[in-house]
């Protein structure tokens, strides 16, 4: 099979033997390989995909998370027909209240439908297919030579991308790696499901014992099937002793039956799809490989859920971009890939003794935190189970920003993210994921943007050197969030109460790192930070104590005043301008709270990722707002309108500038969901 654009291989890419050297060979035609190949071909590269005649796909359904959805949307010419939209995920743990992850943005799709579509899209993008089995990879000065089973002539390419799964060719052998995790996955289609009452999906987790660092743990998904009575049950077991896959599926079914009895008694109908999962990503593994390891081949699998599709698509995309950026320099492409992939995934997936401790911590957290809708815990839960890709951090920020403003703010915010993420990800990767968990990638209301806009409005341009401060500011805001609202008391159990511990230790960690980053801008900025934090705690304590003149919105107003104040101080603005910018920040903070009230009233995912009940119980919601009465929406609506009006009046006091436009866009962005 030849490429639609094939044939014209220039002479300078001929290897010594005269065989043409392609730009890229991709070994493995799964999700990762196809995604990389499609993106490369779309970028104008000459790509060959080495994939044996495709075995028929098992009759199971897959879950496509919102991250995977986003990655798939960016692939050209891909036509997908998912049979189910999954709007929410119900999280069940033994002895804990059920928690719902709203606005999951996920889909269920037939395995064959997804893989056929990816494969077809690769072919129509002009990817050459070598329908054969790779048997050896050799390095040559001009690139890589891949021998395949049937065709005698080797395939020659300058770049190599290895997407051959956890045990394929080009992948370091399991035994040769530090495999601190042992994860096995099985899946099968089952019948007998009760008709679904909504668009939710069930996930059951059986965490390891509190005292057993490497004890067995189970995660079970019930992915809706194409017909009402069918579901695909997928079980991922960590540290499971035993080889019997059928037994593992039975355990999963038992767990589902016990925790989610509403699903009905399920019977296996389809064949069992099973195998080990490799979640042993490490920088060294990817750096030492021949070519670019992507997807399962790189050990990129979520150790808690066993989910690998989103990582496969993300890493495939990163690999393709690295190759396109360094077309003539394979080593540079690999270095760029390693750097980026490590930035995006490091910590959260690596294999080491510390990773074992951290995994256990995450399991405890998942379990204990299920007792609460505290924003810090709810965001953390989401970050572990449905991690939103760090790739998303380079996307537009407050939509819709016009391209000029985007160009002004984009690089600065990306630099802030880099600072923020690299400060915390190695110690607490879930916090790093949490840092970028927004309502959606294009709607993150970044405090750093408010700081930048304020500085610009006051006549000072910020450059990437201020990104250290911007990153510190973001960590400070997230740390402050941890201390708003209480977690339940779980002291009846053995060991630490992880919901409490996560709040305290996580909040302290964020504030501590923030203090260090902020101090690099000097004592005057440190002083503003410390005074702001003291004032915030005083306000919150007054609110808690029921002081009549302290509203809920006063706290969020104080929260958002700070970035505006920092921007004003950086610009050495005059007193009147400082006041105006503070006012704008405060109005943004008020609107933020009332928008969350409105979202919570209508049962949608809030920006704090919490519920109305939690807001009300913790005095984080406005007085008079009560749970269970959706008719109250008028009050927050009026408040949002008023905050926006006051905010606009304040921006009108500023001279016309790009900074003012950014402030207006920020205010609009904060108030936007209210217009729905």
């Amino acid at each position: 099979m030849s490429s639609a654009r094939g044939g014209g291989v220039p002479a300078d890419v001929m290897s010594r033997s005269g065989a043409p050297v392609l730009d890229v060979a991709v070994i493995g035609g799964g999700a990762a390989g196809c995604a990389a190949a499609i993106r490369l071909a779309a970028g104008g590269a000459d790509v060959a995909l080495v994939q044996d005649a495709v075995a028929s796909q098992p009759a199971i359904d897959l879950l496509i998370t919102s991250v995977a959805v986003q990655a798939l949307r960016e692939l050209p010419a891909l036509q997908l027909a998912a049979h189910h939209e999954i709007e929410s995920i119900r999280l069940r743990l033994p002895g804990r209240p059920v928690r719902t992850l709203a606005d999951a943005g996920a889909y269920a799709i037939r395995s064959a439908v997804l893989y056929d579509a990816l494969f077809f899209a690769a072919m129509s993008a002009g990817v050459r297919l070598r329908a054969d089995n790779a048997i050896s990879i050799d390095r040559a000065e001009w690139g890589f030579e891949i021998r395949t089973q049937v065709r005698r002539s080797p395939l020659r390419a300058r770049h190599l991308i290895v997407a051959s799964g956890g045990r394929g060719i080009g992948v370091p052998k399991m035994a040769a790696r530090d495999t601190t995790r042992r994860t096995t996955a099985v899946a099968a289609e089952c019948a007998g499901a009760a008709p679904a009452e909504d668009t939710g999906m069930e996930m059951v987790f059986i965490p390891p014992a509190a005292t057993a660092l490497d004890g067995p743990a189970l995660s079970v998904w019930a992915v809706p099937g194409p017909t009402d009575d069918r579901v695909t049950v997928r079980v991922a077991a960590t540290n499971y002793d035993g080889e019997d896959h059928a037994d593992l599926l039975e355990r999963g079914l038992d767990a589902l039956q016990a925790q989610a009895p509403g699903l009905g008694p399920l019977d296996r109908r389809g064949p069992l799809v099973a195998g080990p999962l490799d979640s042993g990503y490490s920088r060294e593994r990817v750096a030492a490989a021949d070519g670019l390891l992507i997807g399962d081949a790189a050990g990129l699998v979520n150790a808690f859920t066993g989910e690998g599709l989103s990582y496969a698509l993300e890493s495939g995309t990163i690999a393709a971009d690295a190759v396109l950026a360094y077309r003539d320099e394979p080593d540079a492409a690999q270095r760029a890939y390693v750097r980026r992939v490590d930035f995006v995934f490091a910590g959260s997936l690596e294999a080491s003794r510390r990773a074992v401790r951290r995994d256990h911590l995450a399991w405890r957290y998942l379990s204990d935190a299920a007792e609460s809708e505290h924003p810090f815990l709810a965001k953390g839960r989401r970050a572990i189970l449905l991690p939103e890709g760090l790739e998303g951090i380079t996307r537009p920020l407050v939509a819709p920003l016009d391209p000029q403003l985007q160009a002004l703010a984009g690089p600065f915010l990306v630099a802030c993210d880099e600072v923020m993420i690299s400060t915390i990800r190695e110690d607490w990767p879930f916090l790093a994921r949490m840092a970028v968990t927004g309502v959606s990638a294009d709607e993150r209301l970044r405090p750093a943007l408010l700081m930048l806009a304020s500085a610009l409005a006051a006549g000072r341009e910020l450059d990437v050197r201020h990104a250290v401060l911007g990153g510190g500011l973001e960590l400070a805001m997230m740390g402050a969030l941890a201390f708003l609202g209480a977690a339940p008391d779980l002291r009846r159990q053995r060991g630490l109460d992880w919901s409490q511990v996560s709040i305290v230790v996580g909040g302290d960690f964020l504030l501590g790192q923030a203090a260090r980053l902020i101090a690099r801008s000097g004592p005057a900025v440190s002083l503003s930070f410390a005074q702001w934090l003291a004032d915030l705690t005083i306000l919150r304590a007054q609110r808690l104590a029921g002081c009549p003149d302290v509203t809920a919105a006063a706290t969020t107003a104080a929260l958002y005043e700070f970035p505006a104040l920092l921007g004003a101080e950086l610009a050495e603005a005059d007193d009147a301008t400082v006041e105006t910018l503070r006012d704008i920040g405060a109005e943004c903070g008020r609107a933020f709270l009332h928008v969350d009230e409105l979202l919570a009233l209508s049962g949608r995912r809030t920006r704090l990722d919490t519920t109305l009940e939690f807001l009300v119980e913790n005095r984080l919601a406005s007085d008079g707002l009560a749970t269970g009465d959706a008719a109250q929406a008028a009050a927050p609506r009026a408040e949002i309108a008023a905050a926006e009006r006051r905010g606009r009046a304040a921006t009108a006091r500023l001279p016309q500038s790009a900074g003012r436009e950014l402030l207006e866009a920020f205010l609009r962005g904060i108030c936007r969901p209210a217009e729905d």
Partner: protein, 324 residues
């Protein structure tokens, strides 16, 4: 290397100094208002040994001291940070009493206690910022290190395979930074020269590690005598003697089995102590602490001789005697 004549120009009455630090902290915490001030006042009014602010004073006395108020404020920084971590630790460690009174989270509620801790952290930040850029920078570094150490400390819960080396790295994070900061701030306020400042920072770090390891030893030696060492075990936070014993026990899983028992309340503390003794846990841990104390004394050789240095050496000797 040093000018011994310049050393010890300022002598402190440490008791009077402690009172000045308390006054300063009271002044600062009064600004927290009637909701938050009572949450922290208990710990302000019932201070511990004030070891950290004493270090500030002694180290400041080693240099060309001119501004006593600045030293007092530096003392307030480290004591406020200590109060902040106690308020938060008591929530993490589920401790119901602190210094013979109900812990703040018991008397004022968890969220208020946590807010009180954050407020003290913030007040320490305002003080440090007003002490100038060096004091601000070393304080910021220390709080970042401390918060990371706090995290490492809980992350390792129930890890019976944690080596004593890895545990010392945890202690470097959770206890050493505040001791080191105390010495650094003292040196900054006393305007000590760079070499002396560096030596004092090294001294403080080693002293802090030794302090924590010896404290762990006391928990085991005094187990069953009222000191609540058993709670850390219930939480899975094993101290130096236990980790040393676990390491020495090798394939003998008896101690590990006891520590990981799901029903820990039923476990006999005496049995744990016996096993720790069988594997020389306390002896090994004490040796680790001694090594750090020796190293801290080595660091002092770069400090000018005089009463200030004597006092630091006495602090080390005082620790050596702990529980012996």
């Amino acid at each position: 290397m040093t000018d011994t004549a310049a050393a010890g120009t300022a002598e402190f009455d440490l008791a009077a100094f402690a009172e000045l630090v308390s006054e300063r902290i009271r002044l600062l915490t009064r600004a927290l208002g009637s909701e938050l001030e009572p949450v922290v006042s208990g710990l302000v009014d019932r201070p511990g040994k004030r070891l950290r602010s004493r270090l500030v004073a002694i180290c400041a006395s080693l240099g060309k001291l001119s501004d006593l108020a600045g030293v007092v404020r530096a003392g307030a920084v480290v004591e406020l940070l200590q109060i902040a971590s106690l308020l938060h630790d008591d929530v993490v460690d589920q401790a119901d009493t602190r210094r013979f009174a109900p812990a703040a989270h018991v008397s004022h509620g968890v969220e208020s206690a946590l807010l009180g801790g954050v407020a003290c952290f913030a007040l320490a930040g305002t003080e440090a910022a007003e002490l100038g850029s060096t004091a601000n920078a070393v304080t910021a570094r220390a709080v970042a290190d401390l918060s990371r150490g706090e995290m490492l400390d809980v992350e390792r819960a129930f890890d019976v395979k944690l080596s004593s080396e890895d545990y010392l790295a945890v202690v470097e994070g959770k206890t050493a930074p505040l001791f080191r900061l105390s010495c650094q701030l003292g040196a900054v306020q006393g305007r000590c020269d760079q070499e002396v400042s560096r030596a004092l920072a090294a001294f403080g770090g080693d002293l802090g590690v030794a302090f924590q390891v010896l404290d762990d030893c006391l928990d085991i030696e005094h187990a069953g005598t009222g000191k609540p060492g058993g709670r850390d075990l219930a939480l899975g936070l094993f101290g130096a003697p236990i980790l040393c014993a676990l390491q020495a026990a090798g394939t003998d899983r008896e101690l590990a089995g006891l520590l990981l028992s799901p029903d820990f309340d039923g476990v006999d503390m005496r049995q744990v102590c016996e096993l720790v003794e069988r594997y020389d846990g306390v002896v090994t841990a004490r040796a680790l602490a001694e090594a750090r104390l020796d190293r801290s004394l080595d660091a002092l050789t770069a400090v000018p001789a005089g009463p200030g240095r004597e006092r630091l050496a006495q602090l080390v000797d005082g620790l050596r005697g702990t529980g012996a």
